[in-house]
Symmetry: C2
Subunit: 190 residues, 2 copies
């Protein structure tokens, strides 16, 4: 039992260390020996538990999707509030959007991740149901509306160039949140 518990604890420490490492340096730039050292483990354990650096990244990605889904459940009756909460999650955990960006840059050619697709589908289904119930406009297809919502929610964390952010001059987090809620209200009512 202790061995199994230790193995699970080591695996979790490796995922946590890998998350920080991948967020900082990307997939190609991440160093397996640095991850092992920061997890108080060794490289052999990484290959034992995950098989490769790429599969370790997949495990990190799955943990990120799980975290977002659990901390920010979809509320299709209040999509503007959902977008504002998503933005809060992105701001509180800046590594999330960094991992999304690294993944698109370095894994764009790969297929999407099954677990993440299942979650995206469940979210789209919730929006489709709200559209069928008439609480959300069906102007945009449900998947398109989700893409727009996530896009707007990431406005201040990955959506714009440094220069546009400088010129936009939105320093207060509260105002940033209001802008996201406001923009999504507009899209939902269209």
């Amino acid at each position: 039992m202790t061995v199994i518990r230790d193995a699970a604890a080591t695996r979790q420490r490796l995922i946590d260390a890998a998350r920080a490492e991948f967020a900082q340096y990307g997939i190609a730039g991440a160093r397996v020996d640095r991850i092992a050292a920061n997890a108080a483990a060794n490289k052999a354990q990484i290959y034992n538990y995950f098989g490769s650096k790429d599969r370790l990244f997949d495990a990190v990605w799955e943990s990120v999707v799980q975290q977002v889904v659990e901390s920010t459940p979809i509320d299709a009756t209040d999509l503007a509030g959902y977008a504002a909460r998503l933005a809060d999650t992105y701001t509180q955990h800046p590594e999330i959007r960094r991992l999304v960006s690294w993944r698109r840059l370095e894994r764009g050619h790969d297929g999407p991740h099954l677990f993440a697709v299942q979650n995206a589908k469940a979210t789209v289904d919730a929006i489709a149901k709200a559209q069928a119930d008439g609480t959300v406009s069906d102007h945009f297809a449900p998947g398109v509306l989700l893409a727009l919502i996530i896009n707007v929610a990431s406005l201040w964390t990955t959506g714009s160039s440094l220069e546009v952010l400088t010129v936009a001059d939105v320093s207060a987090a509260k105002r940033q949140r209001e802008i996201i809620r406001d923009a999504v209200e507009c899209l939902v009512a269209r």
Copy 2:
């Protein structure tokens, strides 16, 4: 004269090769010797003309900003059309949004680029003027509206995760363009 012309040609070949290299591998991942070889030049010329790999990236970034401004001038009387044309530029030159993303990931701590800020300011001024003239709603501050427009314009090129794009199932480029125009029309009229 010939020497000067050759120098300008070599400098341009280096910028072109660097643009492709940085778009593919990012700033840390880019290899100066590969850039030199692809430009039919040598590493010494890179350091002569640009000083360092980082300054070479700055030169690439400036050329990207220039290209976007020249190919897609702001039309504040038709911001939805402007967003659709921006999206076309991003789709035709996928390296543009990749360079934006790499820069945010690897240079987020740096200050914004002066030339790019000047261009962003000019664009914001054009939107502010249209708002003062009453052709664009002043619901959003002009800089915020620009940030939202660029964000929506990059919806299909960097704005969403692979999974959301899969679920959104928007395959036809024309439909993608319409969605961007549509969403921006909504924001401009708010």
